[in-house]
Assembly symmetry: C2
Homo-oligomer: 223 residues x 2
């Protein structure tokens, strides 16, 4: 009996933890990590601030976990495309378009993940996830080099360059000032332009020549 009580309590604890993380994720989607205060989160989750601290030692720890969950989803989505069918150059182009479309689809979250100034615990996670992205590109570059599509002297350094170029290409267009400009009708960077320029930059950098012309379809929900 004592065992069953304990087990059900652990279940309840885990369910509450998931509920808190879902509420925290929603806050970051809406207003970035700046909107993730412990007090507002406790209100959203319908619990006392003290209960929050039973599950997460501090805001940095919580933010790092929100970051890691959201980033893992991006890494998995990208991996699926990069490890799919077809020539390496095509997979890279598809992966870049999907990454950009997902970022565009949820701009505030994407900016929060890539560049929002935030707790060092999140910066730690950023370093780890940049390595996860680099690992995906290393694998693709090996394949593309083996098939003769890519002319890449150093796989690891080139993978790092890709990670940096992709992340940084998103920072400006996704930043809150750029978003405000766009919403006021003064936006300069549209999705199509960001996307095609990024694909051209990356494929050329790999010595893969010009990509075949293909339209970047901005996801329907975005407009």
């Amino acid at each position: 009996m004592a065992y069953r009580t304990t087990a059900s309590r652990i279940d309840r604890d885990q369910a509450l933890r998931r509920h808190i993380l879902a509420c925290a994720h929603a806050r970051v989607v809406e207003g970035g990590f700046a909107a993730l205060t412990m007090q507002a989160l406790a209100e959203d989750a319908g619990i006392a601030t003290g209960s929050l601290y039973r599950h997460f030692g501090n805001k940095g720890e919580l933010a790092a976990e929100v970051f890691a969950q959201a980033s893992q989803l991006e890494v998995d989505s990208l991996a699926k495309v990069l490890q799919g069918e077809g020539p390496a150059a095509e997979r890279l182009a598809r992966g870049l378009r999907q990454f950009a479309a997902r970022a565009w689809h949820s701009r505030r979250l994407a900016f929060a993940l890539i560049a929002e100034p935030v707790d060092p615990a999140v910066d730690e996670q950023r370093l780890l996830y940049r390595e996860a992205y680099a690992d995906l590109f290393c694998r693709l570059l090996e394949e593309g080099r083996a098939s003769g599509e890519f002319q890449v002297p150093s796989i690891s350094l080139t993978a790092a360059c890709l990670v940096g170029a992709i992340a940084e290409s998103m920072v400006g267009p996704l930043s809150p000032p750029a978003r405000a400009l766009r919403e006021a009708g003064h936006g300069q960077d549209d999705f199509e332009s960001v996307c095609s320029n990024l694909v051209i930059f990356c494929l050329r950098a790999l010595g893969a020549g010009q990509p075949a012309p293909e339209t970047c379809d901005e996801p329907a929900r975005v407009r």
Copy 2:
């Protein structure tokens, strides 16, 4: 008389502020922002911790100022090369080699500036300085496009990609684990390889073709 006393006091205050910043810079050069604690800094500077707080409200503010001073030096050094004489592609290659050499020359500082997890106040500065670097590249890209050297559809997006690629190419080789490996004789990324791969990546990405073969001279103090 009262005026002169005040003026000399302001001079002394400014001299002490510069002294504190120089000591703080030295700590970051040695051990990154992790080594920049207020107590250790006060000891280095030979003042009481309380006096430190009269000049800098908190550690984040101090770290941000150390970051900004060190980064401005890098931006100015790069600007000098990028705005020098010769074809745009050559200036870019020279600028990249100089940037990499400076980073290699002071690895712990370079890693601290580019990627060390640190106070959000430093992250804010990182965003600003990434824009400063992007502005330099925008100007160079305009010139290279006008001269027919670069085939670049979007100047601003391409400049952002360059900033990201360059920064990220440095993170791995400069990171403390990589440094430890090198010092133990297991290093994989040598300066020559990082440097030439970065130049190839960037020039090809701009449609500038292969760079002329040129040796990257690693600065003497590094080895």
